[in-house]
Symmetry: C2
Subunit: 345 residues, 2 copies
């Protein structure tokens, strides 16, 4: 098989023929996708992957989806490939599930350098291996130049979840604590700064990562009510959804919300609120006050959770989010209305 990245000394690019179901599409799948992703279920290239029966009898299936359209495709701390794996792994993880299998729908732009696709699929494969999940199904469509911005990925994932696990907004009571596993807004700001248009660059990297170690570490705690990963719309949007679902309010202690100085100063400069900036490797957990110390101890013992913090409390009577600062001042956090950011996930 010839090197897919070179053709008569020129950079090889995706053509419409790579999406037509014929010979060039099969070559691309063999020489690029399967080289990175090959496994016993994907490699036969059948219409559906037939999966070994790994479902324990006391578990349910969990099924999640996440689409990824980030620009730029490569950014400090990650790229669209690893981000796509983490997106779906994290949706399963915060649901209390262990991810097992992923499928990838790839939408590719005609003209995309195959070298870029190669790096992205390599990154997909590395992220999948790191999380012990297998990419077992996929499909590729090619769009005419201009009708796709390089690559969009639609990922779906199957996981298993212990049947007795009770997580949900209906378990949340006034007095429960709100915890976050690490600094918020890193991903949103890192991607924003990576866009040339801003002419800024910094040391900041995306937090794009699997949260599975964080979620698995606290699943056994009886006071665990709910976990969420604050992606689009950031911490504020997850808290609004929790408030809306419970009909209760949340009071945040501003000084306890971990925010990196670089994120804070970029937000100050650009006029954004870090509480609305996307994370891609954080967990928000609502837990009974009896379990707060256990959660913080377990999270802080993990590399990703060292800056875990208790940031607020559920309060009765209204569904507002109120932020209190160190001087006793209060502000109400409004729900996200307009689009604060270019495509960051």
């Amino acid at each position: 098989m010839t090197d897919p990245n070179e053709k008569n000394g020129e950079v090889a690019r995706i053509t419409m023929a790579h999406g037509n179901g014929g010979r060039r599409m099969r070559e691309l799948i063999q020489s690029l996708f399967l080289r990175h992703l090959g496994n016993p279920w994907l490699t036969p290239l059948t219409d559906a992957a037939i999966l070994p029966h790994r479902l324990p009898p006391d578990h349910d299936l969990a099924f999640a989806s996440d689409g990824v359209t980030v620009q730029p495709l490569f950014f400090p701390g990650g790229d669209i490939g690893s981000l796509a794996v983490h997106g779906t792994v994290n949706d399963l993880a915060v649901s209390g599930a262990t991810p097992l299998y992923l499928s990838i729908n790839a939408f590719l732009e005609e003209g995309l350098p195959i070298e870029q696709l190669d790096r992205i699929v390599g990154s997909l494969a590395t992220a999948a291996r790191a999380n012990n999940v297998h990419i077992v199904a996929g499909d590729t469509k090619v769009l005419p130049q201009g009708l796709c911005d390089g690559v969009y990925l639609g990922v779906s994932g199957i996981g298993v979840r212990p049947r007795g696990l009770l997580l949900g907004a209906e378990r949340i009571h006034a007095g429960d604590a709100i915890l976050v596993s690490g600094p918020v807004g890193d991903h949103g700001i890192a991607v924003l700064l990576a866009r040339e248009a801003f002419g800024l660059s910094g040391s900041l990297a995306s937090d794009s990562a699997s949260v599975l170690p964080l979620t698995q570490s606290i699943l056994d705690l009886p006071g665990l009510r709910l976990m969420r990963d604050p992606t689009r719309g950031g911490l504020a949007t997850v808290l609004h959804e929790i408030a809306e679902a419970t009909g209760q309010g949340i009071q945040l202690d501003e000084g306890q919300i971990p925010i990196r100085p670089a994120v804070r100063s970029a937000c100050d400069m650009l006029g954004y609120d870090p509480l609305f900036m996307a994370c891609e490797g954080r967990v928000v957990a609502v837990v009974s006050i009896h379990d707060v110390d256990d959660v913080l101890r377990r999270w802080r013992a993990l590399p990703q959770g060292q800056e875990a913090s208790r940031i607020g409390v559920v309060v009765p009577d209204h569904d507002q989010i109120v932020v209190r600062n160190a001087w006793g001042g209060k502000r109400v956090l409004q729900p996200l209305e307009n689009d604060p950011l270019p495509r960051i996930c």
Copy 2:
């Protein structure tokens, strides 16, 4: 909740804020997606759907994916919504599986009329119900105007398959028969003619449909070797893949391949070979000669299979596809090289 299709008397359109995770996105999901698709697993809008344990102990999981980017979004016989459901249902069906659950990754273009999205999601829902599958997970991303052609859908599906079922190219022997469940090329030509650029229109409709009744009707036959659905690249491409996988050849009897007159004349006029035109509701089956009559009888008893036909035979020694016409002439069918068609799936 206000009518999502009207706003101050103007047509409401998708905006970037419908993709930001905030209030307008939640409203769109509630007032449009859940109105059509709502079910006990999707409606809670949790990060992952937790599915009831419907997996019989003597079955394996099947997992399949299909991306859909067809233009125009609406065409005679279907639209991108029903096509998306049929694509994944059919991938599972030809694998011998019964589809149970689907996930949808929707990529929407800023400016898309919400009325169009409403029809598409309604069509998704109708097609899912008709196949007894539930859409239980989803995600929506909005792309800036011009960077998406209305709507792209990435679908993944979970099914169950009897564990003892043996289907695969390795079971195919010289002498096995090749059968097709109905006329080929309807979808490709119907979509092509629906494109205004061609200035043509005809009575032809896409064959977009679930093939599940066809596949389920013959699963018990011991001589069933393999089933495929000839989509992108058409019948010819599926036969090339079978020939490549088995290392054997296929001899086709041109007079036995069902092709509608309207498809044949459109192909003549436009210079296409109908054998390369996509189908979206047909099955190609390879079966032992002992089971040919049973397959044809069962397929012809179904509304979709009335024109089922035995079209060829597996021959030893080479992996070519040879087409014999009524006068004894022969031509070799080459694999698909360049892109024959605009986006038809």
